[in-house]
């Protein structure tokens, strides 16, 4: 016959085994849930990002602000997604170009293209008149490059040219503007060189075209323009934001899309034969 003491021990052992088994089961279930949640988060992030981009594209197509949701005039992405795309009309005292390659050129607007370019006369109505210098930063490591500037006045009847030729670009004969050596970190971007275009040089001109000159075939670099006052907009900036609303998971993505105002490619601007 078993004693009470022996039955108690068996019960204890069974309880311990049961506890262990339950722990294993519960932890496995928890990990599975977590993994599911992470996967779900990633999926929602992708959906939100795609939704934000879609909103931007819809904004560009319609030409008016877009709201993500059901109903007319909106971007219907289902009830689990909300957001918008709107034209960003903010202005800043700096502008950072996209990456430019060897022989690319950037058409920088010294006056607002939308309001100042007369589509009937096909001319600008005004030229630069802010009275402030513009500093141009260029050449990001490990590159070495020069910039050729072309200024065109509002009706295209005059042109002026300058060369910013840093010391590192000894392959170009001749000097031009005074180039300062950095490094310069401006608005999150670091550049090797800076040149100042004076208000007097810029006055009356509508376009400033900056052409990249370098012997490095793989060079890419941004150019940044800064001034004491806000610079004219250089393109359409559409901000798209989307928020995923699936269950308890809420993911928000925001994207800026910059469409530069018309760019004159150097291929079609440089006399060549």
């Amino acid at each position: 016959m078993k004693s009470k003491k022996q039955s108690g021990q068996i019960l204890l052992i069974v309880l311990m085994l049961l506890t262990t088994a339950l722990t294993i089961v519960f932890s496995t279930a928890f990990k599975s849930t977590t993994d599911t949640q992470i996967t779900k988060l990633e999926q929602e992030s992708q959906r939100a990002l795609a939704a934000a981009e879609a909103a931007i594209e819809e904004r560009l197509r319609l030409g008016t602000d877009v709201v993500i949701g059901a109903g007319g005039g909106q971007l219907n992405l289902g009830t689990a997604m909300s957001g918008y795309a709107t034209l960003d009309t903010s202005s800043y005292n700096y502008y950072i170009s996209p990456y430019l390659r060897k022989d690319d050129q950037l058409t920088f607007y010294l006056v607002d293209y939308i309001s100042q370019y007369n589509t009937t006369t096909r001319e600008f109505t005004t030229g630069y008149s802010s009275g402030n210098d513009i500093e141009v930063y260029f050449s990001q490591n490990p590159s070495c490059m020069a910039l050729e500037f072309t200024l065109i006045n509002r009706d295209g009847t005059s042109v002026k040219r300058f060369l910013a030729n840093p010391v590192c670009d000894a392959f170009i004969s001749g000097n031009g503007l005074v180039v300062s050596s950095g490094p310069f970190t401006v608005n999150g971007e670091t550049f090797n060189y800076k040149v100042t275009l004076s208000a007097a040089q810029l006055s009356g001109n509508s376009l400033l075209i900056a052409r990249v000159i370098t012997t490095i075939p793989t060079l890419t670099s941004k150019i940044e323009f800064t001034s004491l006052i806000n610079l004219p907009s250089q393109g359409n900036v559409v901000t798209g934001e989307a928020q995923s609303l699936t269950g308890d998971i809420k993911v928000t993505k925001e994207v800026n899309f910059i469409q530069q105002y018309p760019q004159i490619p150097s291929d079609f601007f440089l006399t060549s034969f």
Partner: protein, 536 residues
């Protein structure tokens, strides 16, 4: 009695005296006791005409000659100085050995004997001296003895077995000297070249200086052809420049001239007779007292205004110094590849290498902006059709009537012989375009034509607009009086210019960059740049 004795005394002594005299004359003087040439002797034993010299009977004129004949040879050469040159008119002067004969041979030779005098004739405008070596030829680099008459000593000439005297006559023209100072080898027709020359006193002083140029194929003296240039001025020694503007293509020879007035002249190496002589120059041979100059036509050239310019291939423009303006938009004082508001000049190959006679600077920036051996990225140049049709809004047209303010796409190989309507427009031709009219777009409306190939026919002298193509041809078959002017822009990777013009003081191709076309075509002739930035 005394008288008889006296007579007997004198008679006896006279007999003795007479006998002694006979004995002396007969025995001791060519008598029984006389000695022949070269025989041993003491004092008076030698044959008549010989003397006893150093124990031998010798001819007194050549006591070293054991043949007693005093025979030897007078030989020599006539040369011009400096450098003992065998040149006329000196080598044909007449040498006379007095009492023997004369000869104008060179070298000359006279067998003779005993002492002699030798004379030589002197050409006008020169002087002469001589070097004289007895029984050797090693003295002729010594300074000559001045004079046209030389005495020859048989005593010296005949004393060795070789028996000769080597007598050289050294003639020196009494001329000044001249040499060219960096005269060019090539001159372009119509260019004025300054021929800087050095004139210096030499054997004669400088009294007048000059320069003469002949067409090389015609020659100079003795043909005495008309000279392309024949200038002179009275002056003393120093540097002087003479200007020459050639009027015809060809090969010419220029000679410097220097006078010693009334006495002699040196004239390159272009001479006929004394008293005109070749100039010595700097090396004594006169090679730099003349120079051959080639006059060439530089051919067609181009000029670009207000532009940044990329040259496909090498850049080696041949341009006359004295250029003329193409028209009112040009500037004849600007002899550059680009001028006006010119930017950087990049060259795919080398720049002015090898340097032409008249290398052209890249531009009038100060300092000049240029880069050679530069590879340009032009991704849109050959692919804009594909870019437009895939990314931009465009209009397809089936006839050459473009839509205004639009990108028009036409497929075919059109010939444009009248202005197209509805400017401003961008016309993209999927094919080859020929522009065949005197002035395309005379109204200077904003137009851009982009094609695989654009050909400007011989009839086209002006075209206004932006012309972009993989290949651009400026066609022509004969030299024109005008070139081709592009007002706008000209952009291509392959450029063929067949056009020439009769007046190469003006450019054949003249491109004037017009930024106004880019302003007016801004909404259409452009590319789009995008940038995405995720901010959250």
């Amino acid at each position: 009695m005394q008288k008889t004795r006296l007579i007997q005394f004198f008679t006896q002594h006279f007999k003795v005296f007479f006998v002694c005299t006979i004995l002396y004359l007969g025995v001791f003087n060519n008598g029984v006791f006389a000695r022949p040439c070269n025989s041993l002797c003491t004092l008076h034993e030698c044959d008549p005409g010989l003397i006893c010299s150093s124990g031998r009977c010798r001819n007194p004129s050549c006591t070293q000659d054991n043949s007693c004949s005093c025979a030897y040879t007078i030989q020599g050469t006539k040369v011009g100085m400096p450098g003992n040159q065998s040149i006329e008119p000196f080598i044909s002067q007449t040498v006379t050995v007095v009492g023997v004969g004369s000869s104008s041979n060179n070298p000359y030779s006279f067998p003779t004997s005993f002492d002699k005098t030798v004379n030589v004739t002197i050409p006008a405008g020169s002087r002469v001296g001589y070097t004289r070596c007895y029984n050797n030829t090693a003295c002729h680099n010594d300074p000559p003895i001045s004079g046209s008459s030389a005495d020859i000593s048989a005593q010296n000439a005949a004393k060795t077995a070789s028996k000769y005297v080597d007598l050289w006559w050294h003639f020196t023209p009494l001329t000044p000297n001249c040499e060219q100072l960096n005269w060019p080898s090539t001159v372009y027709i119509g260019d004025t070249v300054s021929l800087n020359t050095s004139y210096v006193d030499d054997a004669g002083p400088v009294t007048d200086v000059g320069l003469v140029i002949y067409n090389t194929s015609i020659g100079c003296y003795p043909q005495n052809p008309p000279a392309e240039l024949n200038q002179s001025v009275t002056t003393t020694q120093g540097d002087r420049a003479f200007n020459w503007t050639p009027s015809a293509v060809g090969t010419y020879t220029a000679y410097c001239r220097a006078w010693n007035d009334g006495i002699a002249e040196c004239r390159g190496d272009c001479v006929d007779a004394a008293p005109r002589y070749p100039c010595k120059g700097s090396d004594g041979n006169g090679l730099d007292a003349k120079k051959t100059i080639s006059v060439t036509d530089p051919g067609p050239w181009f000029k670009v205004k207000d532009a940044s310019f990329h040259k496909v291939g090498a850049l080696n423009e041949k341009v006359v110094n004295n250029i003329a303006a193409y028209d009112a938009d040009d500037d004849a004082t600007k002899r550059f590849v680009t001028f006006g508001e010119s930017g950087l000049t990049t060259v795919e190959g080398s720049y002015n290498s090898p340097a032409d006679p008249n290398p052209v600077p890249a531009n009038n920036n100060s300092p000049v902006w240029n880069v050679e051996n530069y590879t340009m990225n032009q991704p849109y140049l050959g692919s804009y059709f594909e870019y437009v049709t895939s990314k931009k809004e465009f209009t397809t047209i089936s006839s050459l009537v473009p839509q205004q303010n639009a990108i028009n796409v036409y497929t075919g190989n059109p010939t444009i012989n009248s202005d197209l309507p509805n400017a401003p427009y961008v016309l993209i031709v999927n094919g080859d375009v020929t522009i065949d009219m005197a002035t395309f777009n005379a109204a200077e409306s904003a137009v851009a034509i982009i094609a695989d190939q654009i050909t400007f026919s011989p009839n086209t002298t002006a075209a206004n607009g932006i012309f972009i193509a993989n290949t651009i041809i400026v066609d022509d078959t004969v030299a024109q009086t005008t070139g081709l002017k592009i007002k706008g822009n000209l952009i291509t990777k392959t450029f063929t210019n067949s056009r020439t013009r009769s007046d190469n003081t003006k450019p054949t191709i003249f491109v004037v960059f017009q930024p106004k076309y880019y302003i007016r075509l801004l909404p259409t002739l452009n590319i789009s740049l995008y940038d995405w930035r995720q901010v959250q």
